[in-house]
């Protein structure tokens, strides 16, 4: 008798084992779809593995944690496109597919797979929320109908498919109206429309990438509220978290400061929206997790449901981190058919998952923008998302949390009263940009009343009053003697020691001394999902000055602290999270107790089960020292989180033990002057350079070495304020920019070498000896920031001699700096000359890429080296591969209206992908496709500037013709091709008078280039700027911008264009192999 249940269980387990589930990832990080999907996908895989299910993951984002060998059983680095997914299904025969863990990309792909009958054909069942429900939430028309069935209020709206219908609908609803786009990431193409001509222009643009838009009533100024809802198949339904946007309707939630829980709603409103949420989600039939957004009138309890996201989202990642409730994990279990009451709360381990978290703190999320990185950007924020990352701060007062959040952005702002140049405060309030918060603080400072500010911004008076209290405290700090009482008040209002010091005219350390003397110290509190009601075993921690005792003890032994990467921004994103997670993982395997500090809600490193203790708090020298003093770990690892930890070294090195390469050696590499001297001593070449003292000096230097020259501030990542100047005028302009960005560190100019090849080495050393390395080459010539470059590993086109010399240089530098841990060196190679341009004594952006291509975890090796473990030099055979990896940048230009979509020395890509192939072409084509490029079938537009570029491309143009492509060309390109007997069709200039364009167009003689793109009569635009010609060409810009705005593939780099064309012949036989099949 006793054996029976056991047998039953065995059978069940066996069934599960046979169960094979395909998970679609979200691809590269882009604006509106970022690291949060690494979090959701990783939690999903963990949840499935716990059930013994075989998991197959498709995701070309190689830097993610979810694509680690220890997570999914099979990993495909392939584009998230139906054609590729079908191939994988054919090969793997999964029983089920999960669509809700890979953002909009996965959702859209899933719907297509369903509609094309592919899922039915291979008997793959959609788990969790069904496709019809997805459609009901994504198609605005269906959505509105569906909600009308249960009398849920939605904005007055009309879904239209033509511009004329849009005009009609708008007239009916009345201007201003809101235009929304179906199936859009983060509100792309959405916006407030004031009048008819505006509507016509916007609607036309939207119809280029969607066949439906929504014209709806404008709710600008209403409160914007979100609920995260979870439902199981038995209809148990809970709301895990509610959130309030500080910036009300009109500003995209991804662009808004958001607080959790809601602050200005009373019980009636909280419950009303909760009831509507549950009613809606039940009616739609969602199984798993979803997000519902509301507009709530500030004057009554009138509401509208704005949208439902039937999948994990950026908001659900935030809610998950804000509450401690593992939403993605639970959603995955529910997708399998499990019920909420049966799932334990994995945070508390003593309570159930079927409950709604109670918070005893406030969470503030702030978006991180990188507007300065883009040429021609419109900095106004509104209903479209432009931010590239976000931070989450936790405190026990709003002031404490928001001031932390501002500092976490790492944009040099020390709290809400940071100095920013705002000409007209009222104008800024009215037309908000990325500095809105600082404008509000400035307005309060200038004595503009809260009522007036609320009137203009529609921000609730409650938030403004809290901001005002910070300004009041700062005023006291400026005017009064700093007493312990005032110091305590300032800390409770979230002021940093540095800010207090600057206001009270003291040294930062003196403030710290005074704090300690008066026992004004932060206390450590736990995030436990239930406000202390049960003794939870959580390791999720934050610091607060609103407290009198710690929640935890600090008695653990063998502790190591690791600093995370902070907010994702251009130049630092998920790859550093991968490094931090793998570092911690290795430390745990070595038997250490790990402590991680990070504050980015989009990360896996901030998941509750990744570290032994997680401090969800600031990466500032003040906070790191506070935690260090409490924990007394054996040391800190600063080389895994990118540039933020590196920048902290100088502030903490005298107070903490830094593990790995010594701080003074790191400084020798980071400080341009010192590093250059070192290279000279080692007789290693470098481009001629000079540290800027005066403008005159700079001009003199540039004249001596000859233009172009490169300007860069030291201690920066991703080339902030980096520029190439081709003449004196540009040099002067860029110098001003560079000094603005970096006031504390010197600005450097160097000779910019044209037509040079860029090569990188990623390596790990132990006590100065290299243990493993990876040499990769850029496809683009130097001049494109390494973060924007397409990288090939192993390098395919290097001379053996070059490789040998690079290794020798790396070896010498490693010895000279006595490197222990990860490092990266970048080289320029030209005419057999190899010059070093940069050296970072930390893990680099490409560490996950090289680790995964070589199947050798560089971070694991580095961590062992740092901890002084014996690490053997890696056998050279590892580096001998029969396959190639290509890493390609992902740009988000579609999101960034008006920005010129070209790459330069300043990084502009928001993410990256990498695919592995049997050949360079195989890998390249897949990588480019994974970034959204469509491989053309027939029509290509060429617009190539510069005689050099045209000459280089000529053979490829011939090749295209041979393969049956039809080429369109702009004037100069056309003439050039004609001279060499390559047939092409001439198109008119975009700036030609419209009469001319129309006339030619009518005659069908010369197609108008812009309508060619708009009407998608060409599938690919190859538009190459001439790097020798710094002048701005409106024609070329318009062509590129049009390609972006109307979703036509675009290539702007000559080397990429050439290699792409050379690879095209392989397009019919791309390899579909899992990672482990490349051997």
């Amino acid at each position: 008798m006793k054996k029976k249940p056991g047998k039953k269980k065995e059978k069940k387990d066996e069934a599960k084992k046979k169960m094979k589930i395909l998970i679609l990832g979200s691809g590269a990080l882009k604006i509106g779809e970022a690291g949060e999907f690494d979090y959701s996908g990783s939690q999903c895989i963990k949840a499935l593995k716990e059930e013994g299910i075989t998991t197959i993951l498709i995701n070309p984002n190689i830097a993610t944690i979810q694509t680690s060998e220890y997570l999914a059983d099979k990993i495909y680095f392939l584009p998230i496109k139906p054609s590729y997914v079908e191939e994988v299904i054919k090969k793997e025969h999964p029983n089920g597919i999960l669509l809700s863990f890979g953002g909009q990309t996965a959702l859209n792909c899933g719907v297509e797979l369903h509609d094309q009958g592919i899922l039915d054909k291979y008997g793959v069942k959609v788990l969790g929320t069904q496709v019809q429900t997805i459609k009901d939430t994504e198609d605005r028309d269906l959505f509105v109908k569906k909600l009308a069935e249960i009398d849920i209020k939605v904005p007055k709206s009309k879904a239209v498919s033509t511009v004329e219908d849009a005009q009609k609908a708008a007239r009916m609803i009345g201007y201003p109206i809101m235009m929304r786009v179906a199936y859009a990431l983060g509100g792309r193409g959405s916006g407030i429309i004031q009048n008819e001509s505006h509507l016509i222009a916007q609607a036309k643009k939207a119809f280029s990438f969607t066949n439906q838009i929504l014209i709806e009533e404008c709710l600008v100024g209403w409160k914007e509220i979100e609920y995260e809802v979870v439902r199981d198949k038995a209809d148990n339904c809970i709301t895990v978290c509610n959130m309030e946007n500080v910036d009300p309707m009109g500003i995209h939630t991804g662009e808004s400061i958001v607080v959790a829980p809601v602050q200005t709603l009373n019980n009636h409103e909280v419950q009303l929206l909760r009831d509507v949420s549950i009613k809606t989600i039940r009616h739609l039939g969602i199984v798993g997790e979803c997000n519902i957004q509301f507009a709530l009138s500030p004057d009554s309890d009138d509401y509208r449901v704005i949208e439902v996201n039937a999948r994990l989202s950026r908001s659900s990642a935030l809610a998950s981190k804000a509450t401690g409730y593992p939403l993605a994990f639970v959603a995955a279990k529910l997708s399998l058919g499990q019920l909420l009451p049966d799932i334990p709360n994995s945070i508390t381990k003593v309570t159930a998952a079927c409950f709604e978290p109670a918070l005893d703190y406030i969470v503030v999320k702030m978006p991180r923008w990188d507007m300065k990185k883009f040429r021609r950007i419109d900095r106004v924020i509104g209903s479209e998302m432009k931010s590239v990352g976000e931070v989450m701060a936790i405190g026990r007062s709003f002031q404490e949390a928001i001031q932390k959040a501002v500092r976490m952005l790492d944009t040099g702002m020390d709290g809400i009263t940071a100095k920013v140049d705002i000409e007209d405060v009222r104008k800024e309030l009215k037309n908000p940009t990325d500095v809105r918060l600082f404008a509000i603080a400035e307005a309060i400072k200038q004595g503009i009343s809260r009522e007036e500010i609320a009137g203009i911004t529609k921000i609730d008076n409650w938030f403004l009053a809290k901001l005002e209290s910070i300004i009041t405290i700062e005023k006291r700090l400026l005017e009064e003697k700093l007493t312990p009482e005032l110091l305590m008040q300032a800390k409770k209002h979230g002021c940093s020691d540095k800010k207090i010091a600057s206001l009270a005219q003291m040294q930062e350390d003196a403030v710290r001394v005074m704090r300690k003397k008066n026992n004004i110290v932060p206390f450590i509190k736990q995030i436990d999902t239930l406000a202390g009601e049960f003794p939870a075993k959580t390791n999720y921690l934050y610091l607060t000055y609103h407290g009198q005792e710690h929640d935890i003890t600090f008695k653990e032994k063998k502790k190591i602290m690791v600093l995370g990467s902070g907010a994702y921004r251009i130049g630092s994103s998920v790859e550093f999270d991968w490094c931090a997670v793998n570092c911690v993982k290795t430390l745990r395997e070595l038997g250490y107790f790990t402590i991680l500090i990070n504050y980015n809600p989009e990360t896996v490193s901030t998941d509750y089960d990744e570290t032994d203790k997680l401090y969800f708090d600031e990466l500032s020298s003040e906070t790191v020292r506070d935690i260090y003093e409490l924990e007394s770990p054996e040391g800190i690892i600063v080389s895994m989180g990118g540039q933020i930890p590196t920048n902290l070294i100088s502030g903490i090195k005298d107070h903490v033990k830094i593990l790995g390469t010594r701080p003074e050696h790191i400084d020798n590499a980071e400080d341009r002057n010192k590093f250059s001297k070192l290279l000279d001593a080692l007789e290693i070449d470098q481009p001629e350079w000079k540290e800027l003292t005066t403008t005159e000096d700079a001009l003199e230097f540039a004249a001596a070495v000859d233009y172009p020259v490169l300007i860069r501030p030291s201690y920066v990542l991703s080339g902030a304020a980096m520029n190439v100047a081709f003449d004196e005028k540009a040099l002067k302009e860029y110098l001003t920019l560079a000094t603005e960005v970096s006031k504390e560190h010197p600005v450097v100019i160097s000779k910019f070498i044209l037509n040079a090849k860029e090569i990188e080495i990623d390596a790990v050393a132990s006590k100065g000896e290299i243990i493993c390395y990876a040499i990769s080459e850029h496809i683009e010539n130097a001049g494109v920031h390494s973060g924007d470059a397409t990288m090939v590993l192993p390098a395919q086109k290097l001379y053996l001699e070059t490789t040998r010399r690079i290794k020798a240089i790396a070896r010498n530098i490693a010895r000279a700096l006595f490197i222990t841990g990860p490092f990266n060196i970048q080289f320029l190679a030209k005419d057999n000359n190899i010059r070093v341009i940069e050296c970072n004594l930390r893990a680099s952006r490409s560490f996950p890429f090289v680790s995964k291509v070589y199947k050798l975890n560089f971070v694991e090796v580095a961590t062992k080296a740092i901890m002084g473990r014996a690490v053997k030099r890696v056998d050279k055979a590892v580096f001998d591969l029969d396959y190639v990896g290509v890493k390609a940048p992902q740009f988000s230009f579609q999101r960034l209206k008006g920005v010129d979509p070209t790459a330069s020395v300043e990084m502009a890509s928001t993410g990256e992908v990498a695919c592995i192939g049997d050949s360079l072409g195989d890998a390249l084509l897949k990588s480019l496709e994974a970034t959204g490029l469509m491989i053309p079938e027939k029509f290509i537009l060429l617009s190539i500037s510069g005689i050099q570029n045209r000459t280089k491309f000529l053979p490829e143009a011939k090749r295209l013709i041979d393969q049956g492509y039809i080429l369109y060309a702009t004037n100069n390109t056309y003439n050039f091709l004609r001279r060499y007997n390559v047939p092409s069709i001439l198109v008119t200039k975009p700036t030609a008078p419209s009469v001319v364009r129309r006339a030619f167009s009518r005659l069908n003689a010369k197609p108008d280039v812009l309508s060619l793109i708009r009407e998608k009569r060409c599938e690919l635009v190859i538009s190459i700027p001439d790097e020798l010609d710094p002048n701005h060409h409106e024609d070329k810009y318009l062509i590129r911008r049009h390609a972006i705005d109307f979703s036509v593939s675009l290539i702007t780099n000559i080397q990429v264009a050439i290699l792409f064309v050379q690879s095209l012949q392989e397009r019919k036989h791309l390899s579909i192999k899992a990672w482990d099949e490349y051997m």
Binding site: A234, D235, N236, I238, P261, V262, Q263, T264, L265, N266, N267, V270, Q271, R274, D275, I278, P298, D299, S300, L339, L340, P341, V350, T351, A352, C354, F355, E356, P357, A358, L359, D360, Y361, I362, R396, S397, F398, D460, N461, W462, A465, K466, F523, K525, L530, A531, G532, E533, F534, P535, H546, G547, Q548, E549, D551
Partner: protein
Amino acid sequence: MKRIPAKIVLEDGSSFDGFSFGKEVSVAGEVVFNTGMAGYPEGFTDPSYEGQILVLTYPLIGNYGIPQTKQEYDLDHHFESSKVHISGLIIQEYSETYSHHEAKKSLGDWLKENNIPAITGIDTRALTKRLRSKGVMLGKIIITDDKEFFDPNQNNLVKQVSTKKAITYKNKTPHIALIDCGVKNNIIFSLIKRGATLTRVPWDYDIFTNAQYDGILISNGPGDPKMCHQTIKTIKAAIKREIPIFGICLGNQLLALAAGANTYKLKYGHRGQNQPAINLDTKRCYITTQNHGFAVDEKTLPAGWKPWFRNANDKTNEGIRHNAKPFFGFQAHPESMPGPNDTSFLFDDFLDVVRKNNEKKAR
């Protein structure tokens, strides 16, 4: 602005310092905590808090002020009774500035008007953890003079908060006797809204002599259920007469005692809006508002009775019912206020049972 120091002292000797923002008086009582994040006007007027000093775990309080009264049947929609029932309030961070279209005054002013002391600036998490690990304690808020510790549970709190005379709220059928042990307004509204006529009677009222009721609802209320001998007697009589009975919160405990089961004091009670209650018959889970310090001991339920709901977190009883007869009790608050409305259907269920019972009687 000069801030007036205030402190909360617990019977274990611990003490927490903050500043006064309510009435400047000292008070003693039983210290309990609630984890709800919104709904203080409703919460503080819940008669179940009689005699208790309330600690809110959510740190930011007072944000949306206090609304104007909005009355119907002489009862307020925004408040759960006609007075503030907590003895004192302990929070982390009081918001001087409030902002809401319905707000008429600040929380501080309202508490002052009602003679309730309040302290801000307390590490409420530390205080909560103390109450959680040591159990609910007596405590005192000291602002002016010192006070003796005082255990409100020694008093018959129900008697203090129950109506002094019977009141009828006329609507249609059925006619329900509402035994007021400290009833919340929304229980009354919930029944009226569903068409019932209500007669709200004092806790020790004789409901059998002068009228005939179709059903009995035993309300929530403060303190130890065992103090309500008279109510238990009434319920026993009703059980004998097989009148449909629905007990809410304290009413659930009183029903259990009348059935012959036992109740006990929880270490630190359930007070919040996120308590998961599982229906043991259907396995469905509901998120409920709770406010109780005592619970039914399921093991002591006599034959014929069974547990109906159970807490998914600590597995304590959240409701009982009779196997065959129309008697049931729910430990949580189907009327919510504040909190989720997930279980409001229980009022429908109750009235259905009452109506069916009437039909049966008619046959």
